[in-house]
Symmetry: none
Subunit: 235 residues, 2 copies
Amino acid sequence: MESSNYKILLVDDESDILEFLSYNLKKEGFQVSTAGDGKEAIEKAKKLHPHLIILDVMMPEMDGIETCEKIRSLPEFSDVLISFLTARGEDYSQIAGFEAGADDYISKPIKPKVFISRVKALLKRSGRVSEEGGNTSNGLISIGNISIDRERYLIIQDGKEFSLPRKEFELLILLVSRPQKVFTRDEIYSSIWGEKIIVGDRTIDVHIRKLREKIGDDYIQTVKGVGYKFVDAAN
Amino acid sequence: MESSNYKILLVDDESDILEFLSYNLKKEGFQVSTAGDGKEAIEKAKKLHPHLIILDVMMPEMDGIETCEKIRSLPEFSDVLISFLTARGEDYSQIAGFEAGADDYISKPIKPKVFISRVKALLKRSGRVSEEGGNTSNGLISIGNISIDRERYLIIQDGKEFSLPRKEFELLILLVSRPQKVFTRDEIYSSIWGEKIIVGDRTIDVHIRKLREKIGDDYIQTVKGVGYKFVDAAN
DNA sequence: AATAAGATTAACGAAAAGTTAACTTCTATT
DNA sequence: AATAGAAGTTAACTTTTCGTTAATCTTATT
């Protein structure tokens, strides 16, 4: 397992614990991000699409369980791994925690070795190795608020899942595979239809249009005389 | 079924999870013992002779699969029931667990009600099987309200049992082995018929149709131009 | 303003999948 | 070995969905 392929989001209100865990995970080569509360956690999760989110159960404002529920309620995170940090003897937190959708529990006090081995085991056993590096996570390709699940043939946008016809799906994957890059018509053409199949001039346009109709106009930009590119709508 | 007759051994390195499961099982009247690692599990199993052993797959040192193999290799435990706890989204087919001799899988996150009913179903079923004689490892795959009993070639749905012809059964197992994943026709084809056998275009369709006829239309979705996928009907 | 490139729309046709029944093969039983 | 019944496959046909086109409109660039 190449640890460095994995993104982990740590969430705790105590910066000491964040530092401690972060240090240990980074030493193992994980890509670690942190958040100090539930709200920040959800924001960062949307941006980063981590493989694993580790949540402290006890946090002011929004606790770990509530945060977990919120995250799980978004389809794009319906199968991200979530692990809780709990203090020993929190009787009812376990029950509520699994109801909320936790995959694992780690109890304080935390021993670095045990902690690391649990994290590794969780990632390894659940087998979500990212393909081709870059912006993939859980077999998802994510950019901005759009995720593409190639295995399930679904697009996930703003927490909503929907499917696309094959050609549109392929076209979107192509564009998203290199955000910002302008794909010429020829490139699109040969990548999606192949050299042998001959289609008319306006076919690509129509597919682009249908895509824009479904995901919104802001993502696919036309570069006149050249081609099309996918941009993160935020830009 | 009188729950109090049954002894269950829980094995997990996280004491919180042990407590949580233990609490829920005891509430139902089971006799529960616990162990924190594989070694302890084997010792306790020898002493207590439980009816069911529930093993977390992810444990440091000796993992659940190894522990399971060790236990099964002891003649006195050749037909104890063993169930695994696994993280979400694990691929049943890729799991060494059934080969190691697992009778059932329970995925985290664990919901108490589901957990209890699975445990009860397992104990109940095994009782019936053992009356009829030789029972090695049977293997029950469950998803949503459908369970597949590979040993007896039965589908259990809403408390009703029924059988399926071999090809339909294999097809269902394939799809269920990775819920949500779209299996292409080629994948289905080579997995169920193999490369050598040549069957016509509509053969898969017909099997899919027969399956839908029997389990209901909601479980198997068509992704046109790509293939089929199994979804939990709740979705 | 002219022109070229792209956008838009709806309609058409092809391809994929669904459906049904008939036919073949396999298996178990006598 | 004969045969009945079940399972599996095929063939013919229908339905649905998707991809493409054609015709027309809009926008950008010179």
